[in-house]
């Protein structure tokens, strides 16, 4: 058994270490509990635009978002297969790629997934930009992928029933299924020539993103269980492509520290002279 004061010392030492660790890590503690945004890391080594299994994806920080059955509008659904999506993103300053990963016990031709973005400055309701009664909402841009065709469809909507493919198809998508997990990569240029219908991504700025997933399984009667508005949806979350590294903060800090040092020097000299 340890003597009492040695134990107290140990407790104090460990406690101090814990407090220091909390102060240093403070900024990230509140942030790590739950994902609120997807961070597209800036990469220089080529983007995996159509490769859901590329090794470089492990360098992108994952964010997890919970899913709910779509109940906002009819036809609604009360239970869905996919409960969470894990999202990673990368960009190279010109193009971006988003990887959606989720558990689905079976691979079906009608398995599908989509990303949704607000377009422009007006807020859009997360359910396909459903019109709001007291607020003038904006449209949404939807990037859709289906296993059957294994390609991306670039779509626009402003309310349920208005979803349609765009004239200009800018989105690519590719899925890979293994061990009960879908990995779907969506990619596009950061900006397009059609800002009225396409989301424009400016590195450094937060934009709104939402997710949808359809499990293409069929029921006993051979009918699709999840289809159309009967799907798993997420709320709005944030997406940001990392801005290029900015070292000006270090420069400003160095200037401020030098000024403080100079101030000290002058002050002490004056004090010494005055006496």
């Amino acid at each position: 058994m340890k003597p009492g004061n040695q134990m107290i010392k140990e407790v104090l030492r460990n406690g101090t270490a814990a407090i220091v660790a909390m102060i240093i890590g403070g900024a990230s503690i509140g942030y790590a509990q739950e994902s609120v945004s997807v961070r597209a890391a800036l990469t220089t080594g080529g983007l995996p635009l159509e490769d859901p299994n590329a090794a470089v994806w492990s360098s992108a920080p994952p964010a997890t978002f919970p899913m709910s059955p779509q109940v906002h509008w009819q036809n609604r659904i009360q239970e869905v297969t996919v409960k969470d999506v894990i999202v990673r993103a990368l960009h190279d300053g010109n193009q971006m790629a988003v990887l959606l990963e989720y558990a689905d016990p079976t691979q079906d031709p009608d398995d599908a997934a989509a990303l949704e973005f607000m377009v422009g400055d007006k807020k859009a309701h997360f359910a396909h930009g459903q019109p709001m009664l007291q607020v003038e909402g904006g449209p949404v841009n939807i990037w859709f992928w289906k296993n059957k065709t294994d390609k991306g469809v670039d779509m626009s909507a402003k309310g349920f029933g208005t979803l349609k493919p765009q004239e200009h198809q800018d989105v690519k998508a590719k899925g890979a299924y293994s061990n009960g997990t879908w990995k779907v990569v969506f990619s596009r240029n950061l900006s397009t020539g059609h800002p009225e219908e396409d989301v424009q991504i400016t590195p450094g700025n937060f934009i709104s993103i939402a997710f949808a997933v359809w499990d293409g399984r069929k029921d006993g009667a051979g009918e699709l269980v999840e289809k159309g508005s009967q799907k798993a949806v997420s709320s709005w979350w944030y997406f940001r492509a990392d801005a290029p590294p900015d070292y000006s903060g270090y420069m400003y800090a160095a200037i401020a520290a030098a000024l403080a040092l100079g101030f000290q020097f002058v002050l002490i000299r004056k004090l010494k002279k005055g006496q």
Binding site: M67, H125, M132, A253, A260
Partner: protein, 238 residues
Amino acid sequence: MGALGKPIILMVAMYVFIKFVLPNIPGSAPLPSSLIALYLLLTGSGIVIFQTLSKESKDAFWGPMQRFLTGENLGGLQALRYGVLILFPLLVGWQTYGSTAVSDLPPIESRTIHPAPPGEYTGLSNPVAKTPDNIMQGKGFYAAYCSPCHGGNFDGKGPAARGFVPAPANFADPTTIAMLQESYLFWRIKKGGVGLPIEGTPWKSAMPRWEVELPDEWIWKIIMGEYDGAHQSPRTWE
């Protein structure tokens, strides 16, 4: 250090009071750091004014600080002096870096949880008689249309709730329907999330606009069933 000791103790005591004691006084709340800094600045200014009223008190106040800075006859405190002289520029640099660095946190969205309803939805009374039959019917409608999100136990923890932000309202919580009149619920159920004003962040609410699917009478019965099931009573002005 006599003339310096008291001001230091006073500043520390003031900080402890504002930061830790004041928020615990009933009806009070934690103060924002900018306000705490302002109070401490005022306290500090008061101390300086008080200490420099006469020549003697001024010398007693500034003297030890000057001697510390110039390092004369400091003896064992010399190491502390160097520490302060090195730490101060570093602290200034660190503060500057912190205030210029780009935040990694997304923009803060403030949401008003119970925004004001449109005029036509204030003060309506439930036209349906409060009979056991009607309450039971209301609970039946609630189970069919509302419970997937708001929960069979009226606690906002229905099986469909997990992905929605803001989370479906918990009616058992005394800060939800117990604070509201029946006519407010009538408005929220009828118009749903898309009916909220801008401060209610309608673009994030998953609440359906039930007026397109349910007759008014059913909605009034659902309201009755909700209050009864959650063991709450509507707010009244009497």
